[in-house]
Subunit: 233 residues, 2 copies
Amino acid sequence: MKTTSTALLETHGQAPEGMARGGASVYLKLREAIVDGRFQPNERLVEADLERAFGAGRTAIRAALVRLDQEGLVERQPNRGARVRLVSDREALEIEEVRVALEQMLAKHAATRIKPSDVADLRRILEDMTARVEAGDPLGYSELNARFHETIWAIADQGVAATLVANLKSQSIRFQYRTILQPGRPDRSLREHGLIVEALASGDPDASEAAMREHLSRVVETLKQAIARHRNT
Amino acid sequence: MKTTSTALLETHGQAPEGMARGGASVYLKLREAIVDGRFQPNERLVEADLERAFGAGRTAIRAALVRLDQEGLVERQPNRGARVRLVSDREALEIEEVRVALEQMLAKHAATRIKPSDVADLRRILEDMTARVEAGDPLGYSELNARFHETIWAIADQGVAATLVANLKSQSIRFQYRTILQPGRPDRSLREHGLIVEALASGDPDASEAAMREHLSRVVETLKQAIARHRNT
DNA sequence: GGACAATCGATTGTCGACAATTCTATGCAC
DNA sequence: GTGCATAGAATTGTCGACAATCGATTGTCC
């Protein structure tokens, strides 16, 4: 299950040239492994192990770790190695708050640029989401949910904001199921997404921004409750 | 003229341990040099040269470049070295749009946490800003303007958002004078800042958010015009 | 003289070895 | 057994050397 398209991450990393030969992008492989959960939070990332695991030299591993550290997915302490960074409940909430702000803005811009074919795309995704809810498939729903939002980012054509929000998402991915698994949440979520599509389709920036704000504010609220129930700061 | 406090940048970089010995943080020194404009946009950053300039080993230089690349201040092309990244007019606008979204959100949160002493701090800065405008000192004004906003970030206590907005600012620092140097802009800017302080002082989140939005929207508008006049995409 | 190929210098990429540091386990005193 | 110092292993940090690549210059052919 590839969780996020890597396209947005390469905005200013090494260019995605034709072939990813040799140890060209250990970075991407390591990144995917972390985001997909193949490494646990706080798990140590020993360079020698990674060397064997990815068949790359230590130089490449080292560079990848520096990058991922700067990106916030990995935490490096001098002379003490690197670990998968554990994002706290508190920080997950902060991230979600930022997401609200950015996605609002993206929705506003999307409204001014949306084309009929884009509306069709969104409606199609919405239909699929409905099907998944009815099928009781939260995993599939989550996947489509991600695609829904990514589609809006693409329409907005604001590369800077899109990159940021994508990065934030990979950091907080561990928390994504805490919201959608709440009772009654899928149905409400679905309605909210519907309202977003309608607002966008009408081409009204303010309405679209408001609809997105409404939706994500509820997500934050749900997450807050889920975390309060779960306990630990 | 140190342009930005480095505190926010070390959120998850190497820890700012007691002594910055040897080549401990070539990263910070290089970063400062770039942000302060001691390297021109698009200027090549040859590792051997930097080695001599900073008295550090190539390993450290290399790590710093990787970090700065990930951060967006430097652009590295495989086998072709690193350059200071040139952010286009288009991208500067995108960055400013993101800043609007983030600072709105920060203002909203600041309103719910602000203490009387914070209000006093802001008012004091505002007075200094007024003095600089009257003295016709745009450089000093710009400096205080930065401090004004940073103070609000601190009050909001949203580390994630604050870090992002600080990073964005260092990327677009080259554009900061294009807005403030517009005729009539300082006076209007001053009034807008005054309204922000009042809204924050009243503790009203929505009013604070609105005031910040109003202010930064005008900044965006001004920048748009300045760029249109300046020509090049 | 201009287009193209070959060569050379400059620069980056990678590897291996060693130094420095941290972590673990062992031994010892009490 | 507990606390503490010490030795050894594991791991990271740094350096130097060499290979690979790129850019520019030179040389050659037409």
